[in-house]
Symmetry: C2
Subunit: 924 residues, 2 copies
């Protein structure tokens, strides 16, 4: 007979079953159950109880919602043991045992599944409890909570059914808060709640404790497949087959009076990572009061005053736990008549900022290694830390202009600006359908609200504390959040909110700062986060670079890199290069020269060049552009001295530099009308119609039915070599000038869109001759330079061996390569069918965001292998948008790339992702 049930003190037995593996223990008992058992083993006071395994849950669900054979018998045995340990009796008339029934999956899913407390109470046991505790108020408070929770969770009744009764009852009793209700009131309320159950369900609230327990356990099992839980797992990529365990535990009571309390705490500040206890508690309350954020809580430090002994014990225990788990702990506790009980411990969820700080601090404290520290920070965390912020000046100005609306708890850092909405559905709709930047403002949030929170740029609540639902979820998803901004009064009927008569209607713009807890009226200007001021992050990224620089990390054919990936950047302007270098870029992987052509003072010259009728006219225009390009390149080479700078020669089709045909047609019509008007009025207007018509003709002659597969890249260079000849001259004049200043420019010239080696053979020698000629003119003899190509055409991948005979480096243009490999026109596809494909699971991911490993990746693999057979030390990189995507970066690591190149802001993210890839694959 399979063992479905384990007592909390049986962790050794579990370890034996799963083979001593802590992950296995967590998988079988769930995170909560495993940690309760572990704390029991460590001698920490935990109320006795037992865990029904995740396997039992899976068997229950697979069997059509039936307990598997033997399960209930094992529960009864374990319950007996629990009665023994607690000295109480379940359903007993003298010293009755009450239990909680909580879910607990392998990976924490806070608030997503069900919990029922106070199981075992009925009229008889309640009377016995009153007799025993002499505290009628506490007993009936617990009893009415059981009925409400059982109704909502087990019987799936709407919360409002009870809440409406409660509110009316409190009004009748003139009670401001729950604590104003007397014992008699609560007893009356219990009866009223029971009537609500009967009215709603057609049957009585079950008074048999065993029936209560059985139904509650089943409800927890079923909640694994509840919509909230499924959505959450989809969002967080947790496997749907894990199942949840059920923890049945002796109830201890934080609501027996003012000698009791209940609270939650983090061993370090989960928002900042600061090493100080961070949490809330409530005297005379049960746990859900704290978590739900319904009552305003006390800071954990106040407990030193309220209950100094218990607090001292609490600090001891939490210190022990942090040391044991080597990570920041998120604990729940209850003090029952001055006795401290730990109800839960787990690794605490934290903001990105806290993740970085705790990781770095723990290395400095000697708790963990640098590698472990790197593993604990996700690339998304780095991204979050580089999110925009409001500058101090902006804040100051906003305050001066009386834009400050409210201040709350700074629950999840980062700035956000958006239009406010007051419920999750509207928030989500405005984001998805109308593509608005949205802020969600709520009194407090519940698990039902998560879809709105995910859609929002920021979250504000008027109630709740730093460990309330809103705060926990927002931190996890990196959404800026302010909670407990209690001056805000939200009127859901009128769809507005108000502070001291200042009104904001739904849909109006607000700004919020999750770092300071401030909420502003209107749109504040956001500025970039300065990496250089985030010393912990800088430290961590240095460690990441150290990991990647280790030789022997990768094994490949001779000439391929044995260290990890370098991170380069895509930068078109010197200022981008400066920033990227500050952010740790080790080179420029892509400088798009055509952006320089679009500058307002240059565009007319570019257009003149395109419209030139002869090669001479064209060259004349190009000669005008040359000094501009040379200046740009000098700036880049100076900023990146000593590091490689890959400059891509002109790529886009020429029509992109000309006005659209429809604009020209409109201008021609306007000019005609003006001309006619001028004629009628006897005036003469400048005759520009012919010019416009000439441009229109050129635009029409350049029209292509599929421009993405048309006259661009190297095809253009072969048809019209004058442009790239000018560009190469500019590059080498700039490099020589910079070299002569004593700096170390390393230009690498990249030819785009190569599909056949003969294209390179045609164009590359022409350009190399120019490079050599310029160096001779300038008297520069030693210059590190390379000529290479983008690999962005499937044919280039398949014939990469031929291409590598000529090209000295490859840079994957994964945007185009993805377009051609799938036959998807990016703009059309994303609009027309790609979103549907991803939603329906036809494609696992959007291949424009994460490299399609099998298809596009398959071609890349062929390209690298073939390329390195022809040229073993071939430099291989990637400069498409995938260069900043962590999964794609890992793929590039396994592919044998030398580097990935991404936008300057993604460089720190990519550095961490590269280290993760190195750690993951070196370990294998």
């Amino acid at each position: 007979m399979k063992q479905w049930v384990y007592l909390f003190n049986e962790v050794n037995a579990v370890e034996k079953v799963v083979g001593g593996d802590w992950e296995g223990v967590r998988a079988l008992l769930g995170g909560k159950g495993a940690n309760l058992a572990e704390m029991t083993r460590l001698g920490i006071p935990v109320p006795p109880g037992f865990t029904i395994t995740t396997e039992a849950c899976n068997a229950y669900l697979a069997g059509g919602n039936k307990f598997p054979e033997g399960l209930w018998d094992q529960v009864l045995v374990a319950l007996k043991e629990t009665e023994k340990a607690s000295g109480k009796k379940f359903g007993g008339s003298e010293n009755p045992l009450l239990v909680s029934c909580r879910s607990g999956a392998k990976f924490s899913m806070p608030g997503m599944m069900d919990t029922v407390l106070n199981i075992g109470l009925n009229d008889q046991t309640a009377a016995a409890m009153v007799k025993l505790t002499n505290n009628e108020r506490f007993v009936y408070d617990s009893y009415r909570r059981l009925v409400q929770m059982f109704g909502a969770v087990v019987l799936e009744m709407p919360d409002e059914a009870f809440e409406d009764v409660l509110i009316e009852f409190k009004a009748e009793k003139k009670a401001k808060s729950d604590t104003d209700l007397t014992a008699e009131d609560l007893k009356e309320l219990t009866d009223m709640f029971k009537k609500v159950v009967r009215k709603h369900q057609g049957f009585d609230f079950p008074s048999d404790p065993m029936e209560q327990l059985k139904l509650a356990a089943e409800a927890v099992f079923r909640s694994w497949n509840g919509k909230r839980a499924v959505d959450y797992r989809n969002a967080t990529k947790i496997d749907h087959n894990l199942g949840t365990a059920v923890n049945i535990q002796t109830m201890v009571f934080g609501n027996t009076g003012n000698d009791s309390a209940t609270g939650v705490a983090f061993t370090r500040d989960p928002a900042t990572g600061e090493k100080k206890m961070y949490g809330d508690y409530l005297l005379n309350a049960q746990g859900e009061d704290v978590v739900a954020g319904i009552r305003n809580t006390e800071k954990i430090q106040h407990l030193a005053k309220d209950m100094p002994e218990a607090y001292a014990q609490f600090l001891d225990i939490t210190a022990k736990l942090e040391k044991h788990y080597k990570d920041m702990q998120d604990v729940e506790f209850t003090i029952e008549n001055k006795h401290l009980y730990m109800l839960q411990t787990r690794n605490g969820k934290r903001t990105s900022r806290a993740a970085v700080k705790t990781a770095v601090d723990m290395v400095n404290e000697g708790l963990i290694t640098k590698e472990e520290a790197l593993r604990r920070v996700r690339p998304e965390d780095v991204d979050t830390l580089l999110h925009p912020q409001f500058s101090p000046e902006t804040i100051k100005a906003a305050k001066k202009a009386n834009q400050l609306f409210a201040v709350g708890v700074n629950a999840s850092p980062g700035a956000a600006v958006g239009q406010v909405y007051f419920d999750a559905d509207t928030t989500e709709r405005m984001f998805k359908e109308h593509h608005q930047d949205v802020l969600m403002v709520r009194p407090f949030t519940k698990p039902d609200d998560v879809h709105g929170m995910l859609a929002a740029k920021g979250i504000v609540t008027s109630e709740g504390g730093a460990t309330s639902h809103a705060a926990v979820v927002a931190r996890q998803f990196g959404v800026p959040c302010v909670v407990g901004a209690s001056s805000i009064r939200i009127d859901l009927d009128k769809r507005l909110m108000e502070v001291n008569g200042q009104v904001v209607h739904e849909g109006e713009w607000m700004s919020m700062d999750g770092t300071s807890g401030e909420v502003f009226i209107g749109k504040l200007k956001m500025t970039d986060a300065a990496l250089e001021e985030q010393t912990d992050l800088m430290t961590l990224l240095t460690w990441a670079d150290e990991i990647c620089a280790r030789p022997g990390l990768r094994k490949g054919p001779a000439g391929s890199p044995t260290t990890g990936l370098q991170v380069w950047t895509n930068a078109d302007y010197p200022k981008d290069a400066v920033r990227a270098r500050k952010y740790g870029a080790k080179g420029i992987g892509l400088c798009r020269t055509e952006h320089m052509f679009f500058e307002p003072q240059r565009l007319p010259v570019v257009q003149r060049m395109i419209l030139a009728k002869t090669s001479e006219e064209r060259t004349e225009a190009l000669n005008e552009l040359l000094p501009h390009q040379r200046d740009d390149f000098e700036g880049l080479f100076e900023a990146m001295t000593g590091l490689p700078v890959i400059i891509r020669l002109i790529d886009p089709p020429l029509h992109e530099f000309l006005p659209a045909a429809s604009d020209l047609e409109a201008q021609i019509i306007t000019s005609r009308v003006n001309e006619m008007a001028g004629y009628l009025l006897g005036k003469s207007e400048p005759k520009e119609i012919k010019d416009l018509e000439m441009v229109l003709e050129a635009v029409e002659s350049l029209h292509e039915s599929n421009p993405m597969m048309g006259m661009r890249g190297v095809r253009l260079s072969i048809a019209m070599p004058e442009i790239v000849e000018m560009q190469v001259r500019a590059i080498f004049e700039a490099a020589c000038n910079v070299k002569l200043k004593g700096l170390e420019p390393k230009p690498e010239v990249m030819i785009p869109l190569t599909g056949h080696v003969n294209e390179l053979k045609w164009v590359q020698p022409r350009l190399e001759r120019i490079a050599k000629a310029v160096m001779e003119e300038k008297g520069v003899t030693e210059l590190h330079y390379k000529f290479g190509t983008m690999i962005e055409i499937p044919r280039a991948c398949v014939t990469a061996d031929e291409i590598a005979e000529v090209a000295e480096f490859f840079s994957f243009g994964t945007n185009d390569l993805t377009q051609m490999t799938f036959g998807y026109s990016r703009d059309d596809a994303e609009r027309n069918f790609l979103v549907t494909y991803v939603e329906q699971g036809i494609l696992p991911k959007n291949p424009f965001q994460t490299i399609d490993f099998d298809g596009v990746g398959g071609l890349m693999k062929i390209a690298v292998e073939k390329g390195r057979t022809a040229r073993p030390n071939l430099e291989v990189g990637i400069c498409g948008e995938h260069g900043g995507d962590p999964e794609s970066i890992e793929f590039c690591h396994t592919l044998g790339n030398n580097y990935v190149s991404c936008s300057p802001f993604r460089v720190p993210v990519a550095r961490l992702a590269a280290a993760h890839a190195a750690l993951k694959h070196a370990a294998k």
Copy 2:
């Protein structure tokens, strides 16, 4: 010392040097030299002489136009031997030896390189010749020919320099033709020609025979790299490194009087293949008079009357040669004072019709095997035979309408219609720049005219016979040709031609029939050639099918085909299927269902379907289309009973079925104007503007920036499954209906544009359910059917193993696959850069015509290999336009394809190409 020179009787020595290999002999001595030596060995009368090898030519050219060491000494020795054999002395004052100096490369390049006759004549030897022959007229005729030919060929003087003098001289002497000139006239002319040389060149015509010989040999060497020769080799794909040999041969004279003659002949009719001697001769003439087509010749059969003994000997010799070479021979001969000398033999160039007939006849005569017969016919020959012709009715009607303009010799068969031009340059320009169908009309053609002949759809000359330059070249390139249409008078100044006062100006339309020799005014209607009437071709293609059906031809992994390729066809309509089956197709590889949507009575329903606002409206329209589609499919299945029919589900983007946006806009404006006009006139017009605007809106919403990579194929089927569901229902209803008639339908349903296996997984099961449902409705239990996919997206190739898990067959759509693999939009690319790429050699071929073996082919190889690992007996075919291209067919053979599919007219071509591939690769 290398042997650069071989006497004609040294063929055994040559064989020893090259290892007994006849190809080696031809490579070293050139075709002409090898055959002269071979004839000498066979005891056939050949004037003595020797050959300077192709190696000597290459050494001369490589050495900067200098004879290699030892060459001239060897020539002198061979000349001595020749003197001995002929009993004459070169430059001798008693019995002087005259020699010819002719080029002769490994592969025949008729008229492309230089020839000099009568070398050795000067004032002294001429006098000796006169004394010896007592025929002053003959001697000075030869002498003036030498000076003219030497001037033109060796000294590279323009022909006109001599021609102008000759014409003026003839006018002065009132001579109509050259034969009217007396001996004295010719002597005078010789002197005048020498003065022309001095005037033009500044030095005297060289009187030293040795100098003449040396300069002539060098001229022949240099002519290998002359423009004409290089162009010809480019057009015929002859290697530029082969070099030409030089044949020095004792002159024999057809121009010594009426006991002498010269001629050329084929052992079978080179136009029809008929087994009868075919050729021309001239009494009292030298060879070039016949070949150049300047004088109208006699048919060879007349020689029986003129010189019966020589003719009998000639027939003996030619019969012996044909038997020896096992092929039709093209010979040159001269009769000098009743003595017959053979000057050349070679395998005769022939029309496609003759190629087929001689090949089949020779098998029947037991001369060659079927395999050899197949090798002798090129796929282009089959294509030519299926070229359009004029029907007898068309010809009859044209004659009745007095459109017959002239009749000449039917030199190269086939009909052509085009605008006439009178010189090669204009002909070429009108074709290349203005894309006209052009006919070239000339008095006669010279090698300089080849570029015009290649551009022309047909060629007409007013002079020359069936072996004239125009006739030979036209036959070789399969261009219809009429020669010697002597009633035509061409006025090059006025740019017109005229027959009996009927005038045709340059640029006007003409029609010509190279099969009958008739030339017509205006455009005649062309009709297709009926394969079934060409019994020889039918026989040959049956042999081709036999070859391909042999098992063990190919070795591949288990499940892959071991026989050769089958040829299937692309057919959208039952009439195409009927024709293709007659042409030998073994199945339909592609039926494009959307063509059925464009039929005038169906298009409105299709548009209604596209514009439908609801799925119900759409289904309603589709229900109207279903019977039409079913009828089409029934016709196909009936025509192809017993053979597979692959039907491709809807592929193109929907906007293709709607009017263009610009048309709609124009209509809207017109309607607005009408409305306003109606309003002004007090009338009311039907208000269709709203309808038009609605369609315009739909068209605009369907607009894509790169439609080739957009919403088409399976992507459309997933977004709008109703269409393909209807199509599959129609296919299976049709198949069941045909099956119930007792026939054997074999439908194979093809899903286009698959890029990811999940697309198939989504759509294919839905369709298979419909197929099964229809079979159940119809009570049909046994039906051979398959579901499979196009492979036309690079990603599909790379992930073909996954795709083959679902798809039961692959059909390469090489058009799209080429587009995506190269990133070329076909329409744009061919217009913008592809032509340049091919011209500049960046691409060896247009990849849309012949599969790009390395790139696209590389992906196809991956696809076949991966596909067959997942499904060993995977049926693999190709249905792009490459399916009819011989080189691509050979590639498909090596790839392991089961079949190629091409348009019905290409099926016979493909059958032969498939046999060629099988023969070529089975031999390896």
